[in-house]
Symmetry: C2
């Protein structure tokens, strides 16, 4: 019922006027601006925000509308948090690890290098205490966070030369974000922050030696293959990468309960949908980049082992001086060790068998 | 706005009466019965149905209510499909592979032995054409299906003696369901259909030699450890097990669009929540059953290889004579091969590294 129609009808009788206001408040017309950190060309990342908007509209008979804006249309991609925090916009869609410069604790809400994979992250957030720990953390930013997407494990990125030992990472100028940049810096890599649209010229000119973005589906669009042919895996700094909807606290408080529920369930839907979209579209994209000349290379076990050791030394160091980080890290570390033990039983043993079996089948063809 | 209130107000003027019926229809009071295949004691499986009901209520200001019923309260656990199909109830929550006796095609909506894991299943359903293929299949059952939960990869179950070779599976009387039962029967196993509550006495008396159910969190409650100590993994017949909400076609058609959206998003939420709940609670449950004497044993690679070969022979045989099965199987098989190739790169290589690294860390302690 539109507010205008309600006002028209409510004047006719006391019985209606007494009960109608409460009814009207459950379905007010609300229009919000939803800014994202992504260009429209990254159609899964920006598509998740669109999907949230569409579901919220469908759930409320179009009474609650979230108008989405691409990166830069209202605020730059790395300022989504600030815009939501100070109320410039009501909500924003962004990976929290864009803000590790403010506090490394943000990384727990997107990706911890050598940390939880996509399912483990969802389990930690939803049923392992992670959501509550992060909600407490966000209080000082005046923001409520809602997990609303994940890329899955990412690729290690594009390199102009082979990486055969840990020494090959030293001195390397590489576009890499989040806590991965801090850990690689400890190893002597020189991390660079460059927007995705500038990666191609930076690699071509030799301003950087390597660049990681997400995986074949998005990387293909950036054209990096043409200037750096070695495509390494896994992207150990992003065993998964969760994206969040941030909502300004006061704006959230102003919503009727059913609109709050609409945001919550629309985000839960997007959280599953995004990883499904990446999983479904990456196989063909991987085939295309390999057919076009990309040379797939695994990081060696030795490199992974050294980097993992360095990663946890880094976390222990941060935890010594950063109480917010320590508060999340300690229970997270326990959760991680426990769930890895469980995944080593049924899940990973079957996954590994199926992968090996399929590889053997293809070799016979 | 309640229907009664609307009728009261709509009589007062033509302007209201003309537009109000459409408004009233968007928020009617609707009460449905949601039957499940699960007892309340299986709190994650039955909890997912409760969660769907709670979300639908929250999204509609309690105007749309799904009253949940445990297995047997209205219909027996294996008759949920029939009850929804013939309109005895409006909707039901059940794993589709309970109905492989009607048609093996149902298995694609829960679990195919050596088939897709949880994420691959979600990708196939949501973005790989699986949802549309299954929706077409369900038409003849007068039912709409909504994926709404997954257990993750299951355990191989409880055995009274060790299974060291494929010969040890021959003649074994084992509780096992879905297509796994049909494949094991080809290997000489004698599959048994026994409700979970009867498994303990059946194993104790030796009526059966082995029983699989789900994983440590649920299995622990059945007490099987006390009568069959060998706990095998992986449960290759259930690389994942999706559960669905079934909705009667005519009842669905009668819903306002926003109530349909409420069911869709509440099911999407439950689809992610259930696997998170199993993933978060299984590690402690596994530790408890091992501490209580369960002996963890992997099926050998040889056993897995023979069973996988037998499984695909079985699917090819079914596809020869069952057109509905073939229609789903052929694109599913292509999707599976493609996504296994993709998962073998970043996802499985990182998962396997992390599992090995954690096992090495524990051995040092």
């Amino acid at each position: 019922m539109s507010r205008r129609l309600f006002l028209k009808s409510s004047v006719v009788g006391a019985a209606v006027a007494i009960t109608a206001p409460a009814v009207a408040q459950t379905r007010p017309t609300v229009k919000w601006r939803l800014v994202t950190s992504f260009p429209k060309s990254l159609d899964i990342l920006s598509g998740a925000a669109t999907r949230i908007s569409q579901h919220v509209a469908a759930l409320t008979d179009n009474n609650f509308q979230l108008q989405t804006f691409a990166a830069g249309e209202i605020v730059p991609p790395l300022q989504v948090l600030d815009a939501v925090q100070n109320g410039t916009v009501e909500c924003g869609y962004t990976p929290s690890f864009f803000y590790v410069g403010k506090d490394p604790t943000f990384a727990f809400d997107t990706a911890i290098p050598f940390g939880l994979n996509t399912r483990q992250q969802a389990a930690w957030i939803s049923e392992g205490g992670g959501f509550e720990l992060m909600r407490q953390f966000y209080k000082k930013y005046n923001v409520l966070q809602f997990p609303a997407g994940n890329t899955g494990a990412q690729m290690g990125g594009w390199f102009r030369k082979e990486i055969n030992s840990i020494d090959d990472l030293r001195g390397l100028k590489m576009r890499v974000g989040g806590l991965g940049a801090q850990i690689l810096a400890r190893l002597g890599t020189v991390p660079q922050q460059i927007p995705p649209g500038d990666l191609y010229p930076a690699l071509e000119r030799g301003t950087i030696d390597a660049a990681e973005w997400i995986g074949p589906y998005d990387d293909e669009r950036l054209g990096l293959l043409r200037v750096a042919k070695y495509y390494y895996y896994p992207g150990w700094w992003d065993p998964c990468a969760q994206t969040n909807l941030y909502v300004n606290q006061q704006q959230w408080d102003s919503l009727p309960a059913s609109y709050q529920a609409a945001i919550e369930t629309a985000c839960a839907d997007a959280n599953g949908w995004m990883v499904a979209a990446y999983d479904a579209r990456s196989p063909a994209a991987l085939r295309r980049v390999v057919a076009a000349g990309a040379i797939l290379k695994p990081f060696s076990q030795e490199i992974l082992s050294i980097c993992e050791k360095m990663a946890f030394e880094h976390y222990e160091d941060i935890a010594k001086t950063n109480e917010a980080f320590r508060t999340v890290y300690e229970p997270w570390k326990t959760f991680r060790a426990d769930i890895l033990l469980w995944f080593s039983v049924a899940e990973n043993s079957l996954d590994s068998f199926l992968v090996r079996s399929e590889q053997a089948r293809r070799q016979k063809l």
